[in-house]
């Protein structure tokens, strides 16, 4: 029988099948953990006298609440946020006690959890991957079934390496044509969310398919899958192919030798069979897209950079525009920019920093603009520095920091001031996401860099094409 890729991965991980009354017991191949969503789970394990079942399938890092200032990461100055410092220490205690491999604050392999899994090569096709973080969907770019879970479920996986799950439905996102020069993966996923809506994927696993997706690098595919959750989807997946295998072959923890050959043979059977049926599907023409920027308070409120804030009438829409200080009909290119953030699990990889640097090289930030560049991992930071990218940012007047989630959610004190417009390569423009009263405009690294130069939302194709 023909199967979708999701069905193949799901079926391969069912320990106990679901019934009308009970969900399936699903085995988890990789559990990624971090400091914010695990402490209460370890407390529960201690209270019940339970052990970590599979330390070999569990990895811990620190990313959400960690400082990005070098002096706070590497000593000399204590972590500024005291409760964050305690949370970081608690993860060290928990990892030690339960035997979890931990990349601590000063570890050269540390980084955002969704950046380091792929970098290490532990994110692999056909795996089930979970993490107490909704952007776990990122790992689906490799043909893994990867999704975010809450802290109670983190405890379930720590104790049993399994989760109770209802089988989601499938949703094909067919992306035809090719993206035009200057139009990025970020623009595509924002356009997809704009089309299907922020709850359009609820209850479904998305599979991104078609020529535009096949032409993408792994970094671009990760940007796409990362934001599946912003459409409400359980997960997003992309079929593994030669691009996937080439990426993984260069990673330290991918299988080697004969095991590699066997893995590639296995992974090559994962793509959706011809004739397999999805529960839903939608077609997108990539070739007509232009750079996209959000204007509202969720990622579905998005418009072409060449367009205007739409006219709509309902109270929720009006409230969002009032928060953003924007008017219906206002050209997107008129929106001022005070703050620029390049980083996050969406766009904090080396290629993203290269893209931003390509636009920014030889330019200065517009007067009054502040820009923060935060690499997704320490490995990304080293690679960027080896290419001199950090110097491009510093010369322009931007700050260059240590890795972490940083200003994507502002847990560590990297905040946008109230009322300021922040063009950000991150994933959420919710009210207050980057700081109380902060007004976030989501965009690609290229658009963020171009806007930094002009001090208003700017089409990056003015610089690149």
């Amino acid at each position: 029988m023909s199967k979708t890729m999701f069905e193949k991965v799901w079926d391969d991980h069912v320990v106990v099948p679901e019934t009308a009354d009970t969900p399936a017991v699903l085995f988890i191949d990789l559990h990624l953990t971090h400091e914010v969503t695990t402490p209460q789970a370890y407390t529960e394990l201690r209270a019940r006298g339970l052990k970590l079942r599979r330390p070999d399938l569990t990895l811990a890092t620190m990313d959400h609440s960690t400082p990005t200032r070098t002096e706070q990461v590497f000593g000399g100055v204590p972590i500024a946020v005291d409760s964050a410092a305690k949370q970081v220490r608690q993860l060290e205690i928990n990892a030690q006690e339960f035997g979890v491999e931990l990349f601590n604050l000063t570890d050269s392999r540390r980084g955002i959890v969704h950046i380091i899994g792929p970098e290490l090569g532990i994110t692999q096709p056909g795996k089930t991957i979970v993490c107490g973080d909704s952007h776990t969907s990122t790992h689906g770019a490799f043909g893994a079934l990867a999704f975010g879970i809450g802290t109670t479920e983190v405890g379930h996986v720590l104790a049993t390496q399994c989760l109770l799950q209802r089988r989601p439905k499938t949703f094909a996102i067919n992306v035809n044509g090719r993206l035009a020069p200057g139009v990025t993966a970020k623009d595509l996923i924002l356009a997809i969310i704009g089309k299907i809506g922020v709850s359009g994927g609820t209850g479904h696993v998305l599979e991104f398919r078609g020529p535009a997706i096949e032409a993408m690098s792994m970094d671009e595919r990760m940007t796409i899958c990362n934001m599946s959750i912003e459409a409400g989807a359980r997960a997003g997946m992309i079929a593994p192919d030669a691009t996937t295998f080439e990426y993984l072959a260069a990673t330290p923890r991918a299988p080697k030798g004969a095991e590699w050959d066997a893995a590639v043979a296995r992974w090559s059977k994962l793509p959706t069979d011809a004739g397999a049926v999805f529960d839903r599907s939608v077609d997108i023409d990539a070739s007509v897209l232009v750079p996209m920027v959000t204007y509202g308070t969720h990622p579905g409120m998005v418009a072409p950079i060449t367009g205007a804030v739409p006219m709509q009438g309902d109270a929720v829409f009006e409230k969002a525009l009032a928060y953003m200080g924007l008017k219906a009909g206002e050209p997107i290119g008129n929106v001022p920019v005070n703050n620029v953030f390049v980083g996050s699990c969406t766009n904090g990889r080396l290629s993203d920093l290269r893209s931003a640097a390509r636009v920014l090289r030889g330019h200065k930030l517009a007067q009054g603009v502040k820009m923060l560049v935060v690499p997704g991992s320490q490995a990304v930071k080293r690679a960027a520095e080896a290419e001199g990218l950090h110097q491009v940012f510093l010369d322009a007047g931007a700050e260059w920091r240590e890795s972490g989630c940083s200003m994507c959610l502002g847990m560590n004190g990297d905040l946008v001031p109230s009322g300021h417009y922040s063009i950000s390569t991150s994933n959420r423009n919710f009210e207050g996401r980057q700081g109380q009263g902060a007004r976030t405009l989501l965009a690609s690294p290229e658009t963020a860099a171009a806007s930094a130069i002009r001090g208003r939302v700017t089409d990056p194709r003015e610089f690149t094409n």
Partner: protein
């Protein structure tokens, strides 16, 4: 997890659609390592002004919201972050059930894991509840019905296993641990 059998309470209505978990509990409060005490920061940025004083026009600050255990929320409640701190904050404030037409997946799961009952109702019932905040309704887990003040009963979906866990106050971890033989067999077959 405490057992949840029936909930009878006045409602509080928060009609905004797509209320994300960053609104329910902003990220700056997530550095706690405990589950307790999030209620005071529930909807913090909608509830308090810059000086930390309650905004009188926000629904949770109104006298009629005090003691209410049922939140009627707009469509797609709980979207965004997977933070379980969101249901912890709602429960700590005093809510025992959330009623909407649609729940974000992870939020719904997190609610059920903590005995905060997610009640999905049809659009007509939802619209009526939003238009009539503060009415007394009752929710029965055994029969999976919500009863409106005029006696109208509305069924809501709740799968058998989740219902069993709620009624008996048992959490899923015990069930998962009881599957140890099957899990071990799976591990041995998938080395």
């Amino acid at each position: 997890m405490p057992a949840v059998k029936t909930i009878r309470s006045r409602t509080v209505a928060l009609p905004a659609t797509n209320v994300d978990t960053d609104q329910i509990i902003p990220a700056r409060f997530l550095t706690s390592t405990s589950k307790a005490g999030f209620g005071k920061n529930l909807f913090a940025d909608w509830r308090y002004d810059a000086a930390g004083n309650p905004k009188p026009d926000f629904v949770l600050n109104k006298p009629e919201a005090q003691g209410a255990a049922i939140l009627v929320a707009g469509r797609n409640i709980g979207c965004g972050s997977s933070r379980e701190h969101a249901p912890w904050a709602l429960q700590d404030f005093g809510f025992q059930a959330v009623v909407s037409t649609e729940f974000a997946d992870i939020f719904r799961t997190n609610c059920l894991k903590n005995g905060l009952l997610p009640v999905v109702v049809d659009e007509r019932t939802h619209a009526w509840l939003l238009a009539n905040p503060g009415v007394e309704v009752s929710i029965d887990v055994e029969s999976t019905t919500l009863t409106l003040p005029d006696g109208t009963q509305v069924k809501f979906p709740l799968e058998g296993f989740a219902r069993y866990c709620l009624l008996n106050g048992v959490d899923e971890l015990g069930f998962l641990i009881s599957q140890n033989v099957a899990i071990t067999a799976y591990e041995q077959n998938h080395r």
